[in-house]
């Protein structure tokens, strides 16, 4: 007599893709991913160093998420307008930008809030990207608002046709905001499903508050199930699995024009931000160390090679930091500029 009760069996979070011995991606791509991961890490370390030496007021960024963010960037269809992917990003997305081909010097500029910062002209924090030519909408500090906007660009893309999709990313703690639920609802309206790849990077922290103490969903991706949405939880610390899983999910969204919810388990390697010290956390998986070990095991990269990659970027980014030092600060007379779009925009 009692109505059926439903329970999803709780599945422990964590790596769900098992490693086979042979790497399922070709060497060139693997090494490219490795280099981009290292380049990202070096950039973030430089940003932290700048903060610590007084060349910036605040740092926040993505060290620990490289294994996820880099494949994401490589898989994005980059360009301007609805034929290309629209990107509503979290503030930890440097790896994605670099994988897309962005010049790291611009992050340094934003860190130093120079007038030359192309994202915000020295107005916004580090990691708050904006690049219209690549459909990167402005990263903004309020948590989760990007999830409320993402269905809008996706609707334009659905109408436009083609295979451009909308990608939205955010953290685990932020899914407690209603905007995450709004995104699920608006993306899955019956008959009006939208091509959105809804991503949550779960590092199991919101500043000092652990996921386990605040949210009962064993897998955050389960939030999509009631909406008849495809969902999965993946190991975001492994660039190979991240690449394959994202590829599959993106292909689905690109062709089916329907939403897909991906939760990626990742690390937070330097704490939340400069406000919490920005020091390396030994207890978390370091995706670069882990990937380098694996590449070495497979004979694809030696310790020396890895070291060389790191040194190369260390040098190049240090040069950039020096170059940025003398760039001008914004003129106080400009505070009203761009309050409204000019007629020529």
């Amino acid at each position: 007599m009692a109505p059926r009760e439903r329970k999803l069996k709780a599945v422990p979070a964590g790596p769900l893709v098992t490693h086979s011995d042979e790497l399922p991606l070709d060497k060139k791509l693997l090494l490219q991913m490795h280099e981009l991961m290292v380049k990202t890490r070096v950039l973030e370390e430089r940003l932290i160093a700048m903060y610590k030496s007084g060349h910036g007021y605040f740092w926040i960024g993505g060290p620990g998420e490289e294994a996820f963010n880099v494949p994401l960037g490589l898989l994005i269809k980059k360009g301007r307008g609805p034929a290309f992917d629209f990107l509503h990003f979290h503030y930890r997305q440097s790896g994605t930008l670099l994988a897309m081909g962005e010049d790291p010097i611009n992050s340094l500029r934003q860190m130093k809030n120079t007038a030359t910062d192309p994202y915000s002209g020295g107005r916004n924090f580090a990691g708050h990207f904006s690049k219209r030519d690549w459909n990167i909408v402005p990263v903004s500090s309020p948590i989760e608002v990007q999830y409320a906007m993402a269905p809008g660009t996706a609707l334009v893309q659905k109408r436009h046709g083609g295979d451009g999709i909308t990608i939205v990313t955010g953290g685990d703690a932020g899914t407690a905001e209603g905007d995450f639920a709004s995104c699920l609802i608006w993306s899955s309206r019956p008959g009006n499903e939208l091509p959105v790849l809804i991503i949550v990077t779960n590092n199991r922290w919101g500043i000092s508050t652990s996921y386990n103490t605040q949210q009962s969903a064993a897998r955050l991706s389960d939030r999509g199930v009631a909406f008849q949405m495809r969902t999965k939880t993946i190991d975001g610390n492994d660039p190979i699995s991240a690449y394959l899983e994202l590829k599959e999910a993106m292909e689905y969204v690109r062709t089916e024009r329907k939403p897909y919810l991906v939760e990626a388990n990742v690390s937070r390697l330097f704490g939340h931000s400069s406000a919490s010290g920005a020091n390396y956390v030994k207890e978390e998986v370091d995706c670069i160390t882990q990937f380098e070990e694996r590449l070495e095991e497979q004979g694809l990269l030696s310790k020396k090679d890895a070291q060389a990659v790191r040194e190369k970027w260390n040098e190049q980014i240090a040069d950039m930091a020096r170059a940025v030092k003398d760039e001008p600060q914004p003129d106080p007379a400009t505070i009203f500029d761009h309050t409204f779009a000019s007629e020529e925009t």
Partner: protein
């Protein structure tokens, strides 16, 4: 003549056909209802949304970012207050991205008292809206302005907040919308959805033309030399009427645009009269009329013959349902007449 709801509908139709408007959406905005005040009936790009105001504003922002041209409705402005952060974000997106991203989007929402709407269908939004940088804000007081302001709003590159005074939506205008047929019955037959089954109904739109009221331009609703009265929305016609019935030689200015607003027009008038009354119905503490008072004393202090006055809504937590409560909470004709008389008579 068309009423304001019809005028807005016609402007939206014009904007769909000629200004690239792609989406008119909100709760109960699509078929069959066409909006709780009928202002969206028969429009081809209108669609219904989930009951989620944050989703509606977010959708508008996303559409605008994607290159569409959305007109979003919040069913009553009483329900917009969980979206203020998104409105602020929409207002700072161009600025934060140093001009990379602009958001051509219109948000329209019915405001104010006058329908015995009780606590939650009587709110005003002008104080809150004018405190949000990066938005243009308009509020018509008659059908022709409603039409012309909507045309301008749909041409804007920036977010526009279009406030619909709900007490005036069913009031017919005194000037025709360019293109509307002379006969009201005929107009109604053409563009008002029928009662009952509407599934086969299509609007027959008159041949409309592009009449635009520029944003930022006030209108002198009644010229005068003795005192200046500045208002907008529901209270504007009451100010005109108060001028007529008191017999005062009051110049009544219909602000129409709250941001940017036509300071030149106000200034010129106050310089002439030396007395100014600002009238609106939002609650009176931290009220937009107080900004206008401040600007007045800032720039015109030494030309004033009496203190600039504000008549606004009482600072109460809500407008009570009972007739007497509503009347006592927001300015009515009698209150306005009295305030004008007092101001005209004021001597140190």
């Amino acid at each position: 003549m068309a009423n304001m709801a019809q005028a807005i509908r016609m402007a939206l139709h014009y904007a769909e056909e000629n200004l690239g408007v792609t989406d008119i959406f909100g709760e109960d905005v699509g078929a069959p209802l066409g909006g709780v005040f009928t202002a969206i009936q028969g429009l081809k790009t209108a669609w219904n949304t989930p009951l989620d105001e944050r989703g509606i504003i977010g959708m508008a922002m996303g559409l605008a970012m994607g290159g569409a041209r959305p007109v979003a409705e919040i069913q009553f402005c009483d329900y917009i207050y969980n979206t203020i952060d998104l409105l602020k974000l929409a207002g700072n997106t161009c600025w934060a991205s140093i001009g990379q991203w602009n958001l051509p989007m219109v948000v329209m929402t019915p405001v104010g008292s006058g329908i015995r709407g009780s606590l939650y269908h009587s709110h005003s939004f002008d104080a809150t809206a004018t405190h949000i940088p990066g938005w243009k804000i308009v509020m018509p007081s008659n059908p022709l302005d409603a039409y012309g302001l909507m045309i301008s709003a749909c041409r804007e590159k920036n977010p526009v907040m279009y406030l619909k005074p709900k007490a005036l939506l069913r009031i017919k205008g005194e000037a025709p919308i360019p293109g509307e047929p002379g006969d009201d019955k005929q107009l109604s037959k053409m563009i008002d959805a029928p009662l009952g089954d509407r599934s086969k109904w299509r609007a027959q739109w008159p041949d409309l033309t592009a009449y635009a009221v520029p944003i930022g331009k006030a209108r002198i609703a009644r010229p005068g030399g003795q005192l200046t009265v500045v208002s907008y929305g529901r209270t504007l016609p009451l100010c005109v009427k108060a001028a007529e019935t008191t017999g005062l030689d009051a110049e009544v200015i219909d602000l129409r645009s709250l941001w940017p607003y036509d300071w030149e027009c106000i200034k010129e008038s106050v310089k002439k009269t030396g007395r100014v009354l600002y009238v609106n119905e939002d609650t009176e503490v931290t009220n937009f009329g107080e900004h206008l008072v401040r600007r007045t004393v800032d720039e015109l202090f030494y030309e004033l013959m009496a203190p600039p006055r504000l008549l606004a809504g009482k600072f109460v937590p809500g407008i009570g349902l009972a007739d007497a409560l509503e009347m006592a909470s927001v300015p009515q004709l009698g209150d306005i007449s009295e305030a004008m008389q007092k101001l005209a008579a004021e001597a140190p």
